[in-house]
């Protein structure tokens, strides 16, 4: 469980995160959603201490994160970057194995783990094990990035716009494989995105952020059908029809008609 209490972070005179508090339960997938500059990435990076807050406190499973050495803390938290951040001088196997290697895993255990992960992420081990990142496509590189974050089986996974740098087709295929990973079942996941559809597809709960504050915190249905104000409504407007259609169960025609009518009314 991650507990965030009254966190504020400023960069010079600009307040990036403004007195935010929230709790994330074990095994939950939470999406920080918002436009660029809303403070979502800043909030994420404070959880593994890539950034230090100006005030407030973050606890993981009851322990303040400042009580642990940053490197020990980070080895227990998976991290996926938008631009992959793979080490160009490491092979794919070495890239995936960084955290276990830092933790001092035995070679054969590590090797088996890497093989298993590569298979799960659709990266044929015999073909890619000894390749360097430069030889891989963007989608494949991000699969390696995800495998690297999962390698030491951390209970918490932080993802900073993980699919943001991919083209739409690759994005949906990587996202689909990601969603189906059994590795993720018991993990607490925090994902940052500005992509509304992605947020609705992956989230148990969505935090919609603006100007460093949480505007609304709730399930996708809460945001869609019980928006907490104009900002939320406006933010979802563009894709409301697709989102509503997505939330409906197959065969619920009256609801679908209602949604379509709403859509038509807005168009006219």
């Amino acid at each position: 469980m991650i507990t965030v209490t009254n966190i504020t972070k400023r960069f010079g005179r600009h307040t990036a995160v403004d007195n935010i508090s929230f709790t994330i339960n074990e095994g939950e997938t939470v999406v920080f959603l918002g436009a660029s500059g809303c403070g979502k990435t800043t909030m994420l990076k404070m959880i593994n201490r890539l950034l230090e807050p100006d005030s407030g406190e973050i606890r993981i499973d009851g322990t303040p994160i400042t009580q642990r050495r940053p490197e020990d803390l980070r080895r227990g938290i998976g991290y996926v970057l938008q631009n992959y951040g793979l080490f160009p001088h490491y092979t794919i196997e070495e890239n995936i194995g960084i955290v276990p290697q830092l933790l001092g895993w035995k070679k054969d255990v590590l090797s088996k783990r890497v093989t298993a992960l590569m298979e799960k992420l659709q990266l044929p081990p015999e073909q890619y094990r000894s390749a360097y990142p430069a030889a891989l496509s963007g989608g494949q590189q991000q699969r390696v990035g995800i495998a690297r974050a999962l390698a030491a089986d951390p209970p918490v996974l932080l993802m900073d716009e993980p699919f943001g740098a991919l083209d739409p087709i690759t994005r949906s295929s990587v996202r689909k494989d990601f969603r189906e990973l059994d590795e993720l079942r018991a993990k607490t996941i925090i994902l940052v995105t500005h992509d509304v559809q992605e947020a609705f597809e992956l989230a148990d709960r969505i935090f919609l952020l603006d100007k460093g504050r949480i505007i609304q915190e709730g399930t996708p249905d809460d945001l869609l059908f019980r928006p907490a104000g104009d900002y939320v409504r406006l933010f979802l407007q563009e894709q409301r029809f697709q989102l509503e259609a997505m939330r409906l169960k197959a065969g619920d025609y009256p609801a679908l008609n209602r949604a379509f009518d709403n859509f038509k009314n807005r168009q006219s």
């Binding site: 890539l50 951040g85 160009p88 955290v99 830092l102 933790l103």
Partner: protein
């Protein structure tokens, strides 16, 4: 073709020296490089962590880089003396900037995403530095080390000016002696050395990330091994240390003659004329080669050793004048000859001392001298002429030219144009021959060896007799160049070996033979 063959011949003949100089050169280059890496690499890393310090550190290293190398050596001599210490210090300072700058730029150039990932995966900053930043910055850092190496090989030639050895000994000796083969024997190996070292380092630079771990381990080892080259050639020598100019080292009437005629075996370093006198005064050297009328003899309380076997040809000074000028102005020759026999060695030394060390004006000095002899006459401000007087670029010649100008103005109606500072012998002589000047003071020995290139056996035959050398050069100048040597002024500015007066007295050394005998006993 002949040039190539004789160059090859020269290099074969001097292969021992060439090898020693090359080893010294490699040694100097790498010792300073090693220190520069040991200090520059951490500094470069430090300024990536502390942006405020970056400007200061790079600024200081940049300023050091802009100091001309000769000037830098000049600054360092009072602090570190002569020999390898100031040379290594200077090379180290030059190597610093490229290493610091490339280290910091290399690290700053690593993809920020990769750097963030390294931390996010749980690396400590040290692990990130070693496993990620340094490895990825390696090609850029190596480029800096390559630049520093090439700079060091080039600037390292200047080490020969301050008794630190290296290939500069041949280069500067060759320039002083107008000996192209000697210049090339130093310059070609130096250039090849720069190319070779640059190539070897480029191989290391291009190693893939696999080979880099090995390269990072091998590099310091190679630096240390090459550094030790400097120490190898230092043989076992005599108790006394001699410092000779590059020119003196290569001359028959210099180091070569000392060895063959006197059997003088003394440990020798090559050093520039400019710092030599100071070095002997400060007991860094015991014997130096110099000119017998140099003002610094007096300034530093040195004595010249008697050349009892007469290996140094006489360098009597006399005015050399164009024949057509003498014919056109018949009154000129008697006036110039007023000075004949009037200045002996000690008077010339004193005049030089006054100009060089007491910083008196050559004009004033010339006037005082003429007044003391009762020869001074105020200028007649005549309208004939003008006569153009030239001089080489050192104080003694300025003084002589000033004296001659005063005599001509006082005794004739001729006007005088002084063209002082015409560089070396070649420039002055060519100017006289081509009629751009009408006269300048020249030395018999210089004319014999540097202008007429007299064959060795003739030099041996003439050496020792001032009169016969004078007669020989006067005769050939008159026949071949239509130039006249007037009567000698009196002093003999020959090469001489010099020692500190106190030490020479203590060891009871008056002649070069005494010195040679003392060194033989010493062994």
């Amino acid at each position: 073709m002949e040039q190539n063959e004789s160059l090859w011949h020269f290099m074969q003949q001097q292969s021992g020296k060439l090898l020693q100089q090359t080893m010294q050169h490699v040694g100097l280059t790498f010792i300073s490089l090693l220190i520069a890496v040991l200090i520059g690499l951490p500094l470069g890393i430090y300024i990536t962590r502390n942006k405020k310090a970056a400007g200061i550190v790079l600024g200081i290293a940049g300023i050091l880089q802009t100091i001309p190398s000769i000037a830098l050596l000049g600054f360092l001599i009072p602090l570190l003396g002569i020999g390898p210490k100031p040379a290594i210090m200077a090379l180290f300072l030059y190597a610093l900037l490229p290493i610091i700058r490339n280290t910091s730029e290399g690290i700053n150039g690593v993809d920020p995403g990769v750097k963030e990932a390294a931390l996010a995966m749980g690396m400590t900053t040290t692990q990130r530095l070693v496993k990620v930043e340094l490895v990825l910055a390696f090609p850029v850092i190596m480029a800096g080390i390559r630049t520093a190496t090439v700079i060091n090989v080039g600037v390292g030639t200047l080490a020969a000016y301050i008794a630190a050895g290296g290939l500069g000994e041949f280069i500067f000796g060759g320039i002083a002696l107008n000996n192209t083969n000697m210049i090339l024997a130093g310059a070609i190996p130096a250039a090849l050395l720069a190319i070779l070292l640059d190539f070897l380092l480029s191989l290391i630079q291009r190693t893939g990330s696999r080979g880099r771990k090995m390269a990072l381990g091998l590099l310091p080892l190679a630096l240390v091994v090459f550094s030790s080259f400097y120490l190898l050639p230092i043989g076992f020598g005599s108790r006394l240390l001699a410092g000779f100019t590059p020119e003196f080292m290569g001359r028959k009437d210099g180091d070569i003659g000392l060895r063959s005629e006197y059997g003088l075996k003394i440990r020798t370093v090559v050093i520039s004329d400019a710092v030599m006198y100071k070095a002997i005064y400060e007991h860094k050297l015991d014997v130096i080669s110099g000119y017998s009328t140099d003002g610094r003899l007096k300034a530093y309380d040195l004595i010249t050793l008697d050349d009892d076997k007469k290996i140094f040809p006489p360098y009597y000074a006399a005015p050399v004048v164009r024949n057509d000028v003498l014919t056109k102005y018949p009154e000129l020759s008697p006036v110039l000859n007023l000075l004949a026999g009037k200045i002996n060695d000690s008077i010339m030394t004193l005049l030089n001392y006054r100009v060089e060390y007491l910083n008196q004006d050559p004009e004033q000095c010339a006037r005082d001298f003429l007044v003391s002899l009762g020869l001074y006459r105020p200028p007649r401000n005549g309208a004939k002429g003008p006569v153009r007087l030239g001089s080489k670029i050192f104080p003694e010649q300025y003084i002589l030219t000033a004296i001659y100008a005063m005599l001509v103005r006082g005794y004739t109606d001729l006007q005088v144009e002084s063209k002082t500072g015409l560089g070396g012998t070649k420039i002055c002589f060519d100017a006289l021959k081509d009629g751009q000047i009408d006269m300048y003071p020249e030395y018999t020995g210089t004319a014999l060896l540097a202008i007429l290139h007299a064959p060795a056996d003739l030099v041996d035959h003439l050496a020792g007799s001032g009169d016969s050398v004078y007669a020989y050069v006067r005769d050939r100048f008159s026949r071949e160049y239509n130039l006249s040597w007037l009567d000698p002024i009196g002093f003999n500015n020959a090469y001489a070996l010099m020692m500190r007066r106190s030490q020479a007295r203590q060891l009871d050394i008056l002649t070069i033979s005494d010195l040679a005998n003392y060194l033989k006993r010493d062994r």
